[in-house]
Symmetry: C2
Subunit: 201 residues, 2 copies
DNA sequence: GCATACTGTTACCGATCGGTCACAACAGAG
DNA sequence: CTCTGTTGTGACCGATCGGTAACAGTATGC
């Protein structure tokens, strides 16, 4: 119980971020890997290299933490949409193909599927604060996909966008039970086929 | 604390089934409504009109109960496949259209999606006994869908079946975050479009 | 009648859950 | 240096979790 040298090495788990950001980042990862109900706050704080009090000082409750994680995930997705438009300016068809490619990569690399969709499975109470975030996020995502299909001049852009949406969602959820060699493996081919089918000729 | 008249009326929750079947039925329903990790064994026994000891005498653990529920769900799905074949014998195309119709009805009526897929989201440990059941069940489902597409003489039956599979899975998961008016609402139209696209002409 | 098998009841176990308390240690700004 | 705001520590709370022990009641078959 002598003098304790602490707070200096700050090695391993803890990056140079502030505790709040470390908590958010770690919580998001652990929620995704183990499920929201499958991980406790204590495990999150330990993995983030901090403690429960610090968590509860920044986030009032586990539910609040969940909400912030979901919001962060959605913001990240929206940023990717923005990047996509910047990468192929004034070329919506290329943006659409790039979106499909990014989706396929996402399916291949992440075996746990979509954080948002998974959260919707676990957050069953209709009045859970996270549900609003989930629903708004998915609606916005749909809006952007429809917009892209419109700009890409597809015939029946709404139907095409919804089809692509279901294929993508289906691939991400299917991967969790049918594995990477299951139906999800053909997502790219299917999606590109849909785009071709709705192209104006 | 006088004489208690019990076990005679057996009203309300308890049907005339034996405790084991009541437990299985109730557990399946509650797992589906609240999530596997979202419901405790005590709540299940109460809803089933019995008690914890009876549960643990029939099922060794909560995990065992989960496994039996998943297996029952899969058996039910397989029975529906059999019924489909009996209903339209030697008419695989009609069976396929009927499968799509049943799927659409299922999407419309059940807001909580697929029990099996949801379980895959919650059961994150790779060695959980339920995972084997999930994976085998989904593989068998895929096999049957491919077989039906083959018998229906679709060109590229595997690709068609996988596309239908992803659309269905996507619709069921999407319904949980995007609601019944979201992309899932057009499942039937999309699926019939896929069948038409892969029809031999 | 009896024996056997199943069910119900109550109390209990240790572990973990989300969440809080009081207090000490620290960092940076003035 | 002091003041202030942010962290860390460890003990603690009540509630709930999955699971068990011991015993009493009931149903059925012989």
């Amino acid at each position: 119980m002598g003098v304790k040298i602490l707070q200096k090495p700050e090695e391993a788990t803890a990056s140079d971020l502030k505790p709040r950001d470390r908590l958010l980042h770690t919580a998001r990862d652990l929620f995704h890997q183990h499920g929201i109900k499958g991980i406790g706050v204590e495990a999150i704080t330990e993995a983030a290299g901090t403690n429960k009090m610090t968590l509860y000082r920044h986030f009032g409750s586990k539910d609040d933490l969940i909400v912030e994680c979901l919001q962060k995930a959605i913001n990240e997705t929206m940023s990717k949409w923005d990047e996509l438009e910047l990468e192929y300016p004034d070329n919506p068809k290329a943006q659409l193909i790039a979106w499909i490619g990014a989706g396929a990569q996402c399916i291949a690399s992440d075996k746990r599927g979509c954080e948002i969709a998974n959260a919707a499975v676990e957050l069953t109470e209709p009045d859970h604060p996270g549900r609003r975030v989930i629903e708004e996020g998915k609606k916005e995502h749909r809006r952007r996909l429809v917009g892209l299909c419109q700009r890409a001049d597809l015939t029946q852009p709404e139907l095409a966008a919804d089809t692509l949406c279901l294929l993508f969602e289906g691939a991400r959820i299917s991967r969790q039970s049918d594995g990477p060699e299951g139906p999800c493996a053909r997502f790219k081919r299917m999606a590109e086929g849909i785009v071709a089918a709705y192209e104006r000729k």
